[in-house]
Amino acid sequence: MVRFRLYVAGDSYRSQRAIANLRKLGEERLAGRYELNVVDVQRDPDAAEQDRILATPTLIKLDPGPSRRVTGDLTDFEQVLMALALPSGQEI
């Protein structure tokens, strides 16, 4: 089970794309076995401060450890999986 925390800035087009892309990646590449927590930096700046978020969208993979991050609207799934050190196209 992969646990994600996705930081976005408000309801922008980029934010929505990132969420949509992540859900697609989760369904297609992780067989739906993932948990997603979306945090809006504008509503929760303290969380952004805690996790030291600079750019948005920023995706943090919390589990399985170690924690890894990737910034952007996540268009390229292969690159995302590599950045997060997740095996591509495999069952978890």
Partner: protein
Amino acid sequence: MARTTKTESETVRKKPKATIEKLATGIPGFDAVGHGGLPLNRGTLIAGTAGSAKTIFVTHFLASGVHQGEGAVFVTFEDTPEDIRKNMLSFGWDIAAWERAGKWAFVDVSPQPAEETPVVGGYELGGLMSRVEHAVRKTGARRVALDSLSALFTQFPDRRLIRNELYQMVSSLKRLGSTVVFTAERTEDYGLITPSGVEEFVADNVVILRNLLVDERRRRTLEILKYRGANHERGEVPFTIMEDGIIVIPLAAQRLTQESSTKRVTSGSKPLDKMCGGGFFRDSIVLVSGATGTGKTLLTTQFLNGGITDDERALLFAFEESRDQLYRNAAAWGMDFEKAEKRGRLKVINQYPHAMPMEDHLVRMREMIEEFQPNRVAVDSLSALERVFSLRSFREFVISLTSTLKEKRITGLFTSTTPQLLGGGSVTEKHISTLTDSIILLRYVEVNGSMRRSLNVLKMRGSPHDTDLREYDIDGSGMHIGGPFRGVSGILSGQARLIEEDD
């Protein structure tokens, strides 16, 4: 913005130009150069090469705000908050205490290798913006610093995007009512403002800090390159870093609008007062030039004594002789300086010329003048300082000191040593004679195989004066000015000769 020609500006002079309001920075000397400070609610770029004190400058700016009860936000892209807290403590800025009191907030964007974040797809600086805005709201900050933008550009590849994001962020901070300063690194002191040209895009105003090596000496300068829509002093001005932070030294930034005083004060010697047409003017600067042994120190001692006797306060900056030596000599000439000092009428400050850079000397001297409130000040000798300052520094030093004295209507006396024993001028004189109001020359002259001494009032701005070269001598009871040299010419050239009967 198009430059107006002289005729154009004359016609529009009737309509007063709305200038941008300024925020007093609280950095000593800066606000004079900035004609009030930094433009309020605007973004100012502080650009400089490595080690030019950018971080200290912006921290000082923020700290001044905190001292006035305002909040401050420091966004750090390079140094960690812990490093900044530690480094700035030596200036008496207890940032940790301010954080606990809710007056200061760091936004820590310093690089964390463990968090190296690859980029996949489009992005913006939403996280940064939210955190900064949140910190501003939490502290009620009116001053925000971003240090340094150059570090941000190395973290993210897309310059254009970062530039636009920064522009947005600075705009929103301005809307929140804060005045923003951000730093950028330069690679050269003279040339492009910044290598990429991006940081200027975001800025309304540009200030350049320089840390140059001139004549084997360090020279720190500040230059307000541009204020959009506002006035400021142009050109580089020296600054220094001392215990309480940055001190900028504006050069005669205040135009002297007050009229020169016509009030006379004594030189300490009645015959010399007579030669000067009644004494020195209250707010004049007198230069006494002579070779070693011609009596400059005696004249200085008389000058101080004259003030003390007239119930003034006299201050001496002594770079050549020690206070004890001076007091002993004065006592030998019948002047009790110990007593005068005890009564608070006299103060002597001894200092080694090479103990500190020019700017620090100047700051300490101005502080002492401010503290002691003298009516007259003497510097013995300027030549001792000239030997260790660079030419440019020396000139700036004299300009700044004479400005300070005139502004406070303090009578000033400076001594300078001529290198040649007979005749000639000193290097000091060459550079500063135009800055002084009066010049007194003390010269040896060889006449008929014996060494005699001549005194001449060469210049006395605003007053008729004795133009004769008078002989003087020095003995146990002081300086005695006698009659003019008659029948001798060429004394100042060092080649005195008797004038023949039929010349």
